[in-house]
Amino acid sequence: MNEMLRPNLRPTDLQRRAQVFTILEEICQELELTDSQFGRAQQAYEAVAKWLAESSDPLLVTIYVYLQGSGALGTSVKPIGVDEFDIDLIAFAAAASTNISPTALKKAIGERLAEHGTYALMLEEKKRCWRLNYAGDFHLDISPTISNPNCQFGGELVPDRKLFAWHPTNPRAFKKLFDGRAALVPKLLQPKVAMQRDVASVEPFPVQQTIKGILRRTVQLLKRHRDHYYLDISEEIAPISVIITTLAMRAYEYCVKRHVFEDGLDVIVETIRMMPHFIDHIYVDGVKGYAIWNETTEGENFADRWNSEPARVEAFYDWHAKALADFEALRDLVGLDTITKNMKENFGDRVITSVMAARTNSVSQARKSNSLFVAPALGLSTASSATATPVPKNDFFGD
């Protein structure tokens, strides 16, 4: 096991970093689907699945509808400036023959959805899928697939972008792989972590343990960082989510199996640093190209478009360098204002204002109710202890 060479961290550094990690956790909680939203989405897609399966069209009778993408992986992030979450579904026509054309299967699904009084009004045709809009909440994107007899991992085939041919994919195996990696628990330096735990439960800034695991949080933060980075760029060159997810899960597994980390923040930064190492350099028709392979099927290169649109390559490396620098800065910055500023620049004003205001509010509430203390080596705290000094009532004065 390697412990990377780093300067010795003082207890105050560790406390600061634990707080930054906690704020990142709070940002993710603020940006992801809420449990009730997820519940509604689940209900909605189960109803769609039932409706499709009740069709008299033999193509659809054995259809199996399931979640894929961020909804399935637990990495959803609210898009900037839009109310609805994207929820991606696969409509797997298990019994369909590989001779069926993508257009025909998509058409059959669209026709069945249009037969439903309510769905007909919510239905929108997209290039490769059908969208059902649940206004203000989420939309369900339903992509048709058939089974891939050539895939040794039980994969499926999904229409390509032009709806012309079938293209290998394997969302169920991808989820299994991702969940397995997300369950890997990083080794953190034990004595320091224990010390951190002493102050861990202290309000008003309790240190949160991430429930969903650091990998999911890393993916969510990177996706948000990307959305924000590309907010003012109209070209469609931003790295797609599946690329971020694939590189992050491979880098996370690599790091977690080899390193001992200072803390959670260290895991995030080192994972981001390793991501580009999982981009393969290949030759396509004798020309140098790029591949980010889907490890769960054969022949799915998530970076396929990089080879026909070189701007995407540059876009990825520019964004990645910025993301790494920004997360390293977050790890090392000192000062409530500088940390808040960095986060606003990287994740958006609204979410950061909301998360940070809640923290200041808890200080102000405690002060109002005479339950604010100054604790040695910790600063403001709402926990009374033998060594803590209460903050008596005061009114600041002056101009």
């Binding site: 707080q19 204002d337 204002t353 203390f373 403001l380 009114d395 002056g398 101009d399």
Partner: protein, 157 residues
């Protein structure tokens, strides 16, 4: 001011001793020629900077709190600092003539914790531009419990 309330004013030596034994005051002080000067570090929260504070206190009964480093002027970037006394810049931590501070109270239990919250709200203000720590501006203070001029005259005796 000597006989504010029932308690006796604490002497500079007593204040010095309390500051020395306080667990939240990390620093050192000197007491000479009727002046107590304490220098200590304040980090109001784990995300905050560590500020080097100088607390000056004489028998006049009014403690002055200075931020030695970092330079607040550099941090505020030309905005007017809220809740300070000018020339030289000192923190306004309590409302005068209300008894929030008086020389019978311990510096380590009043001025010091108030310095922590002032600096916490200061960093929050640096980002948000809104002072969330509340307070009053001159002209908003309540009527003092006794004649102000009289009390001031007494304080300078």
């Amino acid at each position: 001011m000597r006989n504010w309330g029932a308690k006796k004013d604490l002497t500079l030596a007593q204040q010095d001793m309390f500051l020395r034994i306080s667990q939240i005051v990390k620093g050192n002080g000197t007491l000479s020629n009727g002046e107590l000067i304490w220098r200590f570090e304040v980090q109001p929260s784990p995300l905050s900077r560590t500020y080097n504070i100088r607390l000056e206190y004489t028998r006049s009964g009014t403690p002055d709190v200075f931020v030695e480093t970092p330079d607040l002027d550099l941090l505020v970037e030309n905005r007017p600092l809220p809740h300070i006394y000018n020339n030289p810049v000192r923190l306004c931590l309590y409302m005068p003539s209300t008894g929030q501070w008086c020389p019978t109270k311990r510096l380590d239990q009043t001025i010091v914790p108030w310095t922590f919250i002032w600096l916490y709200y200061f960093e929050e203000w640096l980002d948000s531009n809104h002072w969330k720590g509340g307070g009053k501006h001159p002209g908003e203070e309540p009527q003092p419990p006794c004649n102000r001029r009289q009390r001031r005259a007494l304080a300078h005796l």
